[in-house]
Symmetry: C2
Subunit: 344 residues, 2 copies
């Protein structure tokens, strides 16, 4: 979900970018009009995230998945170990790719139920880096704070970036597919310490090395110009709302309404344990399959879509990203309550 | 440049895809609404290109550049040779990447001036595949027909796909960044023989193997959904114009007006030799730098932008892709003539 104001700006930009008379899809990525978009987007990302000059802000034409391989390919040699925190489907995919390149040590694991983000991790002797997934969309868990680790942190923040203040300290690299809180699919934002990027392999194709993006300002080849435009507008919208601190307050309040309801309900049971609950993806089950089916059907009738749990887990999942309004949460709770009462 | 009708459809889809009340950026890529977009886009691509079932139609979140590496990485073993036709900057980049993986034999070369597409090629004993760039945007040359080669053809068709009938015969794989004739940047179309794809390496990350896209219908991870929508609309627009045969007739007529003028001019000199001239990118130089500067300045005043030659070559470049109107060519010629007369 994206804010209506951002969609309106995107509509306008498709036919006339910044009064140029030419649309964003038609401007050269080396022309002054797009350069202005790139500059203001980077500036807005830096302001939203409180990102200093020691970090590069990169726009990569890819979802989050290719980064699962790019990171170990660049930073994990065959005789090195990286520590991975295993909290669900996404960290599982990242672990699978890392094993192609070096040794993976599972520092902590929420398997098999993934109801919690682990509270204790066992680190390897000298991890090259520590990877974690800040929010697990499928199981609905979220790290309330980054793990305390003995090596630079690498974070897949695809599903909660800019939903709360960015915990940059100790992070070497944060990557995020844009399509949850930032913009369209098909582009990712990477926030990377420049000195960490320099430690990567140099014998890979240019677009498999983050240093190429740093050196050429994400313009080695034509980037996803429309995606960069939308990310910029979304960040400006976040700033207009009061920034990530205000987003966090809003998101906590929205999630609380839903979890409070679920905790007192007899018909609905949240999946994630207290202390590990995601503010972005609230996952729960009905007491019966019929209850779930009734809820999904009524929700559909009221124009609430996308509530079915991920195909690998089932149940119900309410994704309440930044742009999801508090009123939508109220509607959800009313409907859950209505279905529960109807079932009594 | 994209047709105004396509941009209007894209504007509408940003806020309401197909009457669903929800925008294309906000729909799940696994939901029925986006599945309908994917299906109709693939159908339109197949109809425009006359593409049968032996070929897969794939949508890859990437420009053309990563394919320069992906192709040899999958299909060229260290002890094998691939033949490359070298016609300019883009083939040069493809050659550079292929050399990481196996032996590259330069079958023909237009270096150093790149005014022609070579008429004679010398093939290696048993090439794994033959790679060529159908249209060279920077030098303004184009293969009038694919090379006659002793191995499956692999074609970078980024800058002339669907500007004329697709010469599928003998092709194993055709790839094209979308941003010239198809849609937004940040997505590429790949048309690949399914049996050729199956001959690729199997030990690479899933998204580095075209077979993943074939098996999972470009949905291994979230694709560039907006890009797929726009490609579909552009293909439907091409069909409404009469298909690629009609596009070719239009494009030949547009280019002829420009080349006929340049050939009779004393002030302007086309770069590409007759027989090798691109119908997409017409490159030329003025008799003096001053003439070029005067032309560029006046063009800018009349709202004609993007006419400066690529930074690596200089001069003037008129890019007259599918959606560029014939009237625009007339305006260009009038202005070139005006500047020439003014200089006499």
């Amino acid at each position: 979900m994206l804010p209506p104001e951002v969609l309106e700006r995107a509509q306008q930009a498709l036919v006339d970018l910044d009064g140029s008379g030419i649309g964003i899809l038609e401007h050269s990525h080396r022309g002054p009009e797009f350069m202005a978009v790139l500059e203001r987007t980077e500036a807005a990302v830096r302001e939203v995230g409180g990102i200093g000059d020691e970090y590069a802000v990169l726009f990569v034409t890819a979802g989050a998945t290719p980064h699962f391989a790019w990171i170990p390919q660049q930073f994990l040699a065959a005789d090195q170990t990286a520590d991975y925190c295993h909290t669900g489907v996404w960290s599982g995919k990242a672990i699978e790719e890392a094993r192609r390149y070096g040794t993976v040590h599972i520092a902590c694991s929420g398997a098999p139920d993934f109801t919690t983000t682990p509270t204790a991790c066992t680190w390897s002797a000298a991890p090259r880096y520590v990877h974690y997934t800040s929010n697990e969309t499928i199981y609905g868990t979220q790290w309330s704070a980054p793990p305390t680790a003995p090596a630079p942190l690498v974070c897949d923040a695809s599903s909660d970036i800019f939903s709360r203040p960015l915990p940059l300290a100790n992070h070497a690299l944060i990557y995020a597919g844009a399509q949850k809180n930032l913009g369209p699919s098909g582009i990712s934002l990477v926030i990377a310490r420049k000195d960490f990027v320099e430690t990567g392999r140099t014998d890979l194709p240019p677009l498999d090395q983050y240093r190429t993006y740093v050196a050429e300002r994400s313009l080695h080849n034509t980037p996803n110009t429309f995606g960069i435009f939308v990310i910029g507008e979304t960040c400006r919208w976040i700033l207009a709302q009061g920034g990530v601190t205000a987003m966090a307050t809003r998101n906590e309040a929205k999630a609380k309404v839903l979890y409070d309801f679920l905790d007192q309900s007899k018909a609905w049971k949240p999946h994630a344990a207290k202390g590990s609950r995601s503010l972005m993806n609230v996952t729960f089950r009905g007491a019966t399959k019929e209850l779930e089916a009734t809820f999904l059907k009524r929700a559909e009738e009221r124009g609430l879509s996308g509530l079915k749990g991920h195909r690998s887990v089932g149940g119900i999942r309410a994704s309440i990203y930044n742009a999801f309004p508090a009123s939508g949460v109220t509607t959800l709770v009313e409907l859950l309550d209505e279905v529960e009462r109807g079932s009594v």
